[in-house]
Symmetry: C2
Subunit: 151 residues, 2 copies
């Protein structure tokens, strides 16, 4: 199921005075072919492309990721790893959320209709166009509660 075709991507870019380049098309491809629930960092994407024999510079990747996040094409995830991850932004959002242990970084993903409802309503009330909503729960996991280690 492809959300964007070459021409719909081009249309959306041109509307803002931007251009469709092979690099942008390739990057979007990768995200559209990514198994549901997967997400890539800039570095991940770079390696992925290298493997496929595509030669796109890291700068372009960073620029494209930011651009597509701002256009609402990609969803920017703030996980615990210290750098951003990206995934395709579903048109009918059914976002997952994160329960993160602040000591060992163990992360559990979960879904919630109620959160989506709250997000939708809040954005609507302020006149914002919703792209994404994520609940991050920071907590201490059972294992780390038992341990007195610094970790």
């Amino acid at each position: 199921m492809s959300l964007y075709t070459t021409s719909s991507l081009k249309a959306e870019l041109n509307e803002r005075g931007w251009r469709l380049t092979p690099q942008r098309e390739t990057i979007l491809q990768v995200f559209q072919n990514l198994p549901k629930g997967n997400h890539l960092s800039a570095e991940d994407l770079y390696n992925e492309l290298q493997t496929d024999g595509e030669r796109i510079s890291l700068s372009t990747i960073y620029r494209t990721l930011k651009l597509m996040a701002r256009m609402g094409i990609l969803r920017e995830l703030e996980l615990a790893e210290g750098h951003k991850h990206y995934e395709i932004n579903q048109p009918y959002p059914y976002y997952h959320h994160h329960l993160i242990c602040v000591r060992c970084n163990k992360t559990i993903e979960f879904k919630s209709d109620s959160i989506l409802k709250i997000g939708t309503k809040t954005a609507q009330k302020e006149g914002y166009h919703l792209l994404d909503c994520q609940l991050s729960i920071h907590a201490i996991c059972p294992t780390c509660q038992r341990s007195l280690m610094p970790a």
Copy 2:
């Protein structure tokens, strides 16, 4: 209203084999005296301390912020600015959340009991000890919707 006294902080540190140092006490002071709703980055805290004539190195600040976040004393905020912010973690949590424009970074804060309930329940179900929960809504604000600028 001081949540931690010198001795309760010391107790909590010693329990894990850590030590109470003047630096740690001073840093906690700053956060406890911070007006409600304010938050500081590592750099902010460093400058704040310089102004007050305190001489604490940036390394120590980074180390202390991370330590206190992992202890649950401080709450780590992931705002849109590319670096972390910290604020005191209220014992009876009434967390605020963020509606963020991905183009201009304009951010609206809001509160929600339902989110807190969802966070509490989710953490509980997995046996996690809740420290903090934050909903981040990424969206496009009315102004940016109207503008075709690259932002």
